[in-house]
Amino acid sequence: MVGGLVLLSLILITFSFRASSTGTLHQVESAGVTVLRPFEVAAERVARPFRDVYGYFRGLVHAKQQNGRLRLQVNELRQQALQGKSAQEQNREFRAQLHFIDSPLFPRDYSPVNTRIISWSGEFDQQVVIAAGSDQGIKEDTPIVTQDGLVGRVTDVTGSAAHVTLLTDESSAVPARDQKTGATGLVRHGEGEGSLLLDYVPKESDVREGDVIVTAGTQSKRYPSLFPGAIPIGVVTSVGQSDTALYKQIQINPYVDFSGLDPVTALITHKRSPKVP
């Protein structure tokens, strides 16, 4: 009996590995997710007040020192916003004059689907399940964001739920650029929990502490990015380089708090991305 269960588990693991995303096993998983979904939503609703209280007290610890820093930042950003707005207007005019054809732009060409996280994969994976699926227009590779920045992308989807791989997962990699200098690289998971690295940045590129890192969008026709450009990812906390390493070692502090994700937004676009001829 027990041997049979162990054998069945091993067979399931094998088939699960080989199964396609539309196969029978996927349908079994979809059925499981559909059955669990209402219960998970209910449990999440019951737990939310307790989680909010915990989050409130955790937030109070850092609130005072954050307040002073944020006040300074607000003044600085207000000036930058004014400059940015006039540059944006100018950019729009120039694009119109040039009849410029572009890939979908964030946030203009995306419609948001706001949803909640209904389950977490646990300590090994940085993956979550959200309470919206293909019925709401979500597809594989749909980018997921919060108001703070990029969270990850959809890696599997059913009618009523979708599986999201977070930016901090080992399998995630996002083309990104330094908003100030334009230096590009690949954002991957870092050493610590919830930390990120900007990798493959050549030593001659200019990246400094405090620079803002955003998604790069599609930079090359051969390698189109899954993510639209200009979604904030995080801020550079340290830049290092050694004689032997080929690239700079850049650590990023993500804007998104991956331990307290809720709610999240799926970015749906109906504009078609340019395809490689």
């Binding site: 269960l5 588990s9 096993l25 331990s259």
Partner: protein, 171 residues
Amino acid sequence: MPADAAKAAGMLFLVVVIQLSVIANVDILSGHPNLLLVTVVCVSLLRGAVFGAVAGFSAGLLADTGVFGTLGFTALLLTLAGYWTGRYGETTGRDRAHAPLLSIAVITVLYQISALVLRYLLGQAAPAHHIFVALLPTVLLNLILTVPVYALTRRLLRPREWVTREVRLLG
């Protein structure tokens, strides 16, 4: 027996839901409590190896489907956890006061290491450093969960010989 199976199934379904939607995101001093493992161990200790293995397999399979995980992964680990704890309960452990805590401590360590090895074999991310750093806090959190979970499980699934013994004493 069917009544016990129904009670255990209901309890494990609820525990899977709570584990996936609430507890899986809890991080205290890098430790991640595992309510599902604790419940399977408590059920197995009280009900024996075969019952424990079936409970572990069913609950694990449900947990795997709930997070689009590798089907069979949690099921395999919980089947073995249920079986071994059940054997310990059947042979020496059940009557001892420290049995639930000892079982949880040992099974948590074995579960974490087995999960790490299995993930490595499957070519998935296997952050050994992270797991070993989190091992002690995870064991402690699971031990804290054991006390109420075991008390509740014992109320629901009291072994038949305990009931007989109590009746005999009363009689």
